[in-house]
Symmetry: D3
Subunit: 294 residues, 6 copies
Amino acid sequence: MLTTQIIDSVVRSALAEDAPWGDITSELLIPESATAQAHLVAREPGTFSGGAVFAAAMTAADASIVVELLVVDGDAFSAGDRLASISGPARGVLQAERVALNLVQRMSGIATLTARFVAETAGTRARIVDTRKTTPGLRALERHAVTSGGGHNHRFSLSDAVMAKDNHLAILTADGSDLTTALTRARAALSHTTHLEVEVDRIDQIEPVLAAGVDTIMLDNFSIEELRQGVAIIAGRAIVEASGNVSIDTVRAIAATGVDVISAGALTHSVRSLDLGLDIEVETTQTRGSWQPK
Amino acid sequence: MLTTQIIDSVVRSALAEDAPWGDITSELLIPESATAQAHLVAREPGTFSGGAVFAAAMTAADASIVVELLVVDGDAFSAGDRLASISGPARGVLQAERVALNLVQRMSGIATLTARFVAETAGTRARIVDTRKTTPGLRALERHAVTSGGGHNHRFSLSDAVMAKDNHLAILTADGSDLTTALTRARAALSHTTHLEVEVDRIDQIEPVLAAGVDTIMLDNFSIEELRQGVAIIAGRAIVEASGNVSIDTVRAIAATGVDVISAGALTHSVRSLDLGLDIEVETTQTRGSWQPK
Amino acid sequence: MLTTQIIDSVVRSALAEDAPWGDITSELLIPESATAQAHLVAREPGTFSGGAVFAAAMTAADASIVVELLVVDGDAFSAGDRLASISGPARGVLQAERVALNLVQRMSGIATLTARFVAETAGTRARIVDTRKTTPGLRALERHAVTSGGGHNHRFSLSDAVMAKDNHLAILTADGSDLTTALTRARAALSHTTHLEVEVDRIDQIEPVLAAGVDTIMLDNFSIEELRQGVAIIAGRAIVEASGNVSIDTVRAIAATGVDVISAGALTHSVRSLDLGLDIEVETTQTRGSWQPK
Amino acid sequence: MLTTQIIDSVVRSALAEDAPWGDITSELLIPESATAQAHLVAREPGTFSGGAVFAAAMTAADASIVVELLVVDGDAFSAGDRLASISGPARGVLQAERVALNLVQRMSGIATLTARFVAETAGTRARIVDTRKTTPGLRALERHAVTSGGGHNHRFSLSDAVMAKDNHLAILTADGSDLTTALTRARAALSHTTHLEVEVDRIDQIEPVLAAGVDTIMLDNFSIEELRQGVAIIAGRAIVEASGNVSIDTVRAIAATGVDVISAGALTHSVRSLDLGLDIEVETTQTRGSWQPK
Amino acid sequence: MLTTQIIDSVVRSALAEDAPWGDITSELLIPESATAQAHLVAREPGTFSGGAVFAAAMTAADASIVVELLVVDGDAFSAGDRLASISGPARGVLQAERVALNLVQRMSGIATLTARFVAETAGTRARIVDTRKTTPGLRALERHAVTSGGGHNHRFSLSDAVMAKDNHLAILTADGSDLTTALTRARAALSHTTHLEVEVDRIDQIEPVLAAGVDTIMLDNFSIEELRQGVAIIAGRAIVEASGNVSIDTVRAIAATGVDVISAGALTHSVRSLDLGLDIEVETTQTRGSWQPK
Amino acid sequence: MLTTQIIDSVVRSALAEDAPWGDITSELLIPESATAQAHLVAREPGTFSGGAVFAAAMTAADASIVVELLVVDGDAFSAGDRLASISGPARGVLQAERVALNLVQRMSGIATLTARFVAETAGTRARIVDTRKTTPGLRALERHAVTSGGGHNHRFSLSDAVMAKDNHLAILTADGSDLTTALTRARAALSHTTHLEVEVDRIDQIEPVLAAGVDTIMLDNFSIEELRQGVAIIAGRAIVEASGNVSIDTVRAIAATGVDVISAGALTHSVRSLDLGLDIEVETTQTRGSWQPK
């Protein structure tokens, strides 16, 4: 999911964006031979995600930087914990610092928030899943962060599962077809490996949709009571996904209705970067007077 | 700043990420000839940013989609306001919907937050500026959103201004040089068009730094009282930037100390996407029975 | 599935490969003002696929070339039929000719072969599907060609459905786990939208796999008799896919066993390009002596 | 011809196409520490091509995979022969398997077919050459495969040799110029290193073309008897290339006419992938119960 | 040779290099609605080249800019001549100005220098050709500029003609082979469309090389007298190319020896940009006070 | 400034341009096992620049080539000096030779010319700086070469400093605003880190510009006497840059006027490649008769 190619592509683009023709400060002020020892330190508690991305940002800036990860993705940590140790050429560490932090702070922010949702729903059958409300360009990373927090992923993109929403259903039945017939006909046109999910807004849509043999029914913006009724009607004949108005305050009640899946855009669209910092110590072996700004 | 090339590059990557081999739902369920009328509607009040990006996402999905922007970047709006009108092929509108919203919601979220900081500091000499704590890949968009909210930009990247921080100063003086001499020497090596900013942690660093003729002094994590003293000492000999612990709750007091610039990572690193939605109406002219799922 | 972006990317790469710094023959011998009228003509009967690709290759070579498609993808045609009309600058038509033909001949070859498989299995419940044995770089085009011939698609890639084969099952049970438990555990880790297909080599593997609730069972290299038994055992509890030794000679008997899906690598890995040709007439309005090779 | 850059570019694109966001099956079912031993085995006899490409696909998937090639490009092999040994991380081997096979099977299919053409023409002066009827994106690989089979290459692209065909000749003489004069004039405009080949359809075109001093005359769709006459007329004054209706059944007779070069589109446009397979054994050192699906 | 794709690629890269995130000066100081009228004017006489490149740079900056070329590539002009007229949005014209000039000045510099070499050799059989000593990234443009000046092109790259130099000949005969045998053997391995050129340093190498049937012999660093002898020995059996110490002062004498081709690295490796300028008049229709810097 | 990423990108593009599908000469004539020893030798005296670029071109062609640089960028050398030693596979060295030389010759040509300008102005306060008149695609390399010669850099691009020229000033005051007011207003809109430079053509423009608090005033095409007056008027209130008609003959007099910066387009727009050559010795260990052209 979070392949080496994706990680490399993201960190290289980010480094190029942040230093298109080099870090003029370090080139001016830091001798090429200076080395740095650094630690990634948590300034607040949370759940870690993005270790491989953090390390890749460092080594993309300078291949001789060594990163030792002290936690793995999914680990919880406390304020003050050391999460990784970094050593290598000071110029490279300083150049990568901001990009590496921007990425790991965002990913850990998502993991931490997801973990809260997951904890809220402990003991229920509901899994917490992400949506397509991710940051353009960072979807693979943000989906990975959701799994670090104990969540699951929804479809990756528009290309890999069908989700029929209100507009689609309206069109399908615009010619007077009944919904069951129309959906059955659509399903027949699909690859046998493609998941078919249908979003419904009202309870009376459930039976016609079920009759077409869909894989998942999404109950969109249902009240808690309606969700409970929906679960009862569906009765295991399809996976039940709840969506709409999912927040840390409502998620427990939603989960308690017996739904299988709760999708929450909030996991990725409005995340606070977690406060992680890099404590850096730069060392230069040059003797007094031997070095001057370029 | 927000060039056509950058916008195109971002929206094309985002659309490819979200539909690498097409939107299988629309291809299955929406006739190729169906059209859509849609409106971008504010679900909450805020400050708009990202009109050109929103429109570019739509037209990149289908060049025949027409987008009319009803507000310009920087406009304030109320909940319920229509911000843009969209019409064109339904498949294209549905495919672009999520990407277009993801981008304009994020940008408007940043603009709205920035506008709050700017409003807080009204009547002071301080300008609110962004930092390099932006989303990797979206820096140009997020910096633009800051200006939509009435803020200003800091340096774009590591390549276009020097900012010497604690580590740099430590190295500069590691050979026993005094700071003024070392910074003077460094300045001489710089391009005459390159801005030199130095971050200080203590008041006693100010005079030696000023003596080197720097352009901006950043007072990092100074208390309100220390900021006031710093401004008095500097006395117009350099631009004064305050940074650290800048929040909507503290920014007014910081601005009141007389600093010129307040940089706030919070503008971009932890933004809530503004709640904007797309109300879509799909129309198909096909008569009953004339169309079937592919 | 066959998006504009994919088509553009393929034809532009192909044109660049075939003329990295121009068509030196046309530049030498054809006046810039010469125009061409051309027809895409079938030299043998078949099923058409690739109209949009053919047209895109022409217009990518010169945006002023006009292509009128006289058939749509999926149409059957006879030897001698005109499939498309092309008119525009002669240099552009001549430069695009080979690339446009290479693509449409390959796609129509696949569609034609697929149509033969589909015709062979008429009246059975089996659908003919492709595999990942496609030409590197052309998967989207070749999958589209399969649908032009009346076939269906299997998963697009390793990223969008799980297919557990012998090696995977061996590992899963290497610790002594029983297969049902192991697969059930695996399924729980999957996204709810991800299809789970398991390949079995022996009839006795079917029940343990079914017990884990998989979506599709692939019966690999089963004899006709074994396929029939497999279908009976599975009895609608999962989709049944047959694979291995599928050829135009065997496909009817396989389909008659009652399987739901027959996957055939031969559809794409060993296709004969269909014999389609471009009849071109070049016209120049220049009068005697007015033009000379550059 | 088959440079490292080209190979890398092809295999990386192919791997990305086949697993845009990873191999979800292996990630689900194969422990990261599992290793694989594999052999590339011939299921039918043939001529090998694509060793470097096969190896590059493996190492692009995981740099720690080791591939030992047991044959070199151009070697003939029997059914059952081991062609290569592979060892390394199981996930990487499984991810690369299909791409590596797709490429080496196609290349070996081309080499095997070419070798048959070459064997058919043994003892004649004719060399077998390819055409531009290659798979878009794979031209360099397919041309290399032709040489593995003992064939030679024609021009790489439209950019590196002139080939004047019927349309070009018609234009050249449209102003009433005689063909010799027109071609002589054209030749003068060419780089001295550019090969000039002219295609003729009738014997009476040969002398005027020869008189212009062309490098190669292509006799297109000539009968065997006409080819013999053409060779006699040309009498060594230019290279003689036969093209049109070249198949394994006709190539010997064509070669026997004394032509220098026989170009055959069939070498690349309609190739059957050779049946090569990967026998894989996956090993995991994990003890009972120590590993669970992610 | 100078295809639209190549021109687009060069000008887009150049514009991105020159304004990665926009032209901050124009955005600050020029209203978006301001228009510009401009003329490309010669400040010194010369031969024009690069009209299409100049125009493409303008339209790549803003598609609504209109460029009218008043001369065509290859035209001679005098100081003060207008070479092109440009009109369109002022911001776009100002942004493209430097890139457009950098390219057209360089190309016209090459064309002008080449034209001097060509004029010097008027009346001889020698053609003036370029070498691979071109600016990395701009080879296609610089080769085109050579033809604008009346010169011809040598091989485009290492991939499209063989040139055997001293090191190659030394290796070829390192096993004691005689040169004729070795070259004959090598020629047999080449594509029949590939030009074979051999560089010799001494007159006694000519006969053995000729005996192998090469296409061109390059006489490298021969004196005028040796060139004359070489031409006499070769006597039309191969094309004769002179290279080494070719300057505007020596080229006439070299040409007079009867060689066919004179290659001159100086055409491209050390060119003075021709002095062409853009006279721009910016107009804004905004009334007093209506516009302010952003 | 000259980052690894930029160097890699330039040399890889250049190698691909020079050998899109390999070096057919070396593949034909040089055994794969042959090795080469080579030296980069100065054929004329100069100042070195481009060591890292030269080495990167070699190792990009073949990662096993070893390059030892015997001088560092900025070193002066004499004719005949060895500047670098190269050893490795002969094919790789021969393939990279031309690209590596094209780049290092150009860069050293720029460094050498710059060093002459710097030497001419020794003892004055003036620094010599480059302009945007660089070769498209090579700006970072050419700017680095200027610093190798002892020069300094001007702004990198249109994106990183404001330079207001005549057209901008005309627009600014088109509404009747006085220049000081307009520039002051513009400055307020700029990022605090952005340098503001204004070009003036007449002495009477200096005071109004100074009054707006600009960072640099460029005196464009001023006579020596006018420059002297300008320096006196400005009197340290801004950096003074002289531009226009700067040549090796005029630069000393310009510097003597007391300006701070002299910008010279000639440093990069019309550079003669320095005469550096590669002396190569190829060795093959193959015994007599053991190797034949492919």
